[in-house]
Symmetry: C2
Subunit: 268 residues, 2 copies
């Protein structure tokens, strides 16, 4: 892993950083394809929105782009950006003039088997739920313990991803992906105004699908409705879209729209 901290090659961080102490920051995970970050403007827009919600000064977009290029020396890889409120005195109170910490880290592209796209993945339920907090909903902030606990629930032998609900039995997302369900012929995805992360690939699919004449409905999605879903798929910034071939023990047919979306994505 190659890491830049505030622009300098560095793999260690000030132990007083508020990112560590309180999760006081935001992050992005960006696919780098053919040496170029994918959807950089959208990632930056979400990062900026999250930083604004938390009151953290924004990093410079062009500088971030240059650092991604400097860190990601392989044609294909993963760039992770973290922006924290930086070092501060003891206590939750944010410093009046924060000096944010900017971390850009490059990782190798994960070695998922191609069958995840062509044949689909197995999806189950997680017991761990999201708490609801509109003040933090949608933001990719550094408080991610709920997803960590959910992801700790299974070994890869049992399933490939797990769906999480909120405390009202509403589906929110998989641990590392957004979810879409075809219900009564209509693609549907959970509204994320109470919790969850509004993914960049979710945004890409919403746009692509609307442009294709099949707009997706984003709404409260009670877990029991998934019993009548005819197809499911998952999205995130790295995978694009994975169709679900098995959900909670039930076989599902793959939807050709998912393959078409991935083809479109490959041309971006």
């Amino acid at each position: 892993m190659r890491i830049l901290i505030n622009g300098r090659a560095e793999d260690r961080l000030d132990a007083r950083d508020r990112g560590l102490h309180y999760g006081d920051g935001v992050f992005e995970t960006i696919a780098v394809i053919d040496g170029r970050p994918r959807f950089p403007a959208w990632h930056f827009e979400r990062l900026a929105h999250g930083a604004t919600c938390l009151g953290i000064p924004l990093p410079d977009f062009d500088r971030l782009l240059a650092e991604i290029t400097a860190a990601c020396t392989e044609p294909r890889g993963v760039a992770k950006i973290i922006v924290t409120r930086g070092v501060g005195p003891r206590g939750y109170r944010p410093p009046v003039h924060p000096e944010p910490t900017r971390i850009v880290a490059a990782s190798p592209w994960p070695d998922w088997e191609p069958a995840r796209w062509s044949e689909g993945v197995r999806l189950g339920w997680c017991r761990t739920r999201y708490g609801r907090n509109p003040a933090l909903a949608g933001i990719k902030h550094l408080n991610r313990l709920e997803q960590v606990l959910a992801r700790a629930e299974w070994d890869d032998g049992a399933m490939d991803e797990g769906l999480m609900q909120d405390d009202r039995d509403g589906v929110i997302s998989a641990t590392q992906a957004n979810v879409f369900a075809r219900i009564d012929g209509q693609w549907t995805t959970p509204a994320l105004d109470q919790c969850g992360v509004a993914g960049i690939m979710r945004r890409a699919f919403l746009g692509w699908s609307a442009d294709s004449g099949n707009p997706v409905v984003a709404r409260v999605l009670p877990a029991r409705e998934l019993a009548s879903a005819t197809q499911l798929f998952l999205t995130n910034a790295l995978i694009g879209a994975w169709p679900v071939r098995e959900f909670a023990g039930r076989r599902l047919p793959l939807d050709p729209a998912v393959a078409r979306f991935n083809e479109w994505l490959a041309q971006q």
Copy 2:
């Protein structure tokens, strides 16, 4: 600030640590009085409980105590302990064999004016709320953005602490302290089975008060009930107990029990 990381004098941390990336860890803030940590067994018990809930291997108690003593060279100070799941590969999934990171940091004792104890503090409401998640309730984990946002709401000129509610209009705590309210003659404190941090000084007061023949009731505490509270006070591991002299613009008399508790505390 003097810092030990895994026992070594060190002020920088591996930037891949999951404490930074996900808030994947727990912490304690411990008063060091006359060179000795106060209530070390209770702090360690809570740390161990939190680590167990998250599936993080426990640090050795005696080693932690020795590190606190080594880091805190002043007779009076603050020891902060952080235990994270350590470095791991990319993604929420916890490593099967985590190697936790153990941080012990010493800070100077804060310079609060003595009037906070003798004359009381001013308390108001925060707009930022706690999300509810029983899986994380009570634990002093590293996901603390809600309290950061709440603490960012006011400048010290306006008030000294702010009360936070959950999404059901239940009082939970101040941003950095637990809260007690005397209602119909009965000391009451919010139950913390949905969110909030179960403080060590809250535990100390519950025990002291029960031993004094005045047991505290811990229950759901609707915010509207505070209108009829005749006294309020705040507790945390450093301050002991601060009586509240003004709450949301209303003058409150100080309860002599608070001063008696602080006297008892000074003898521990």
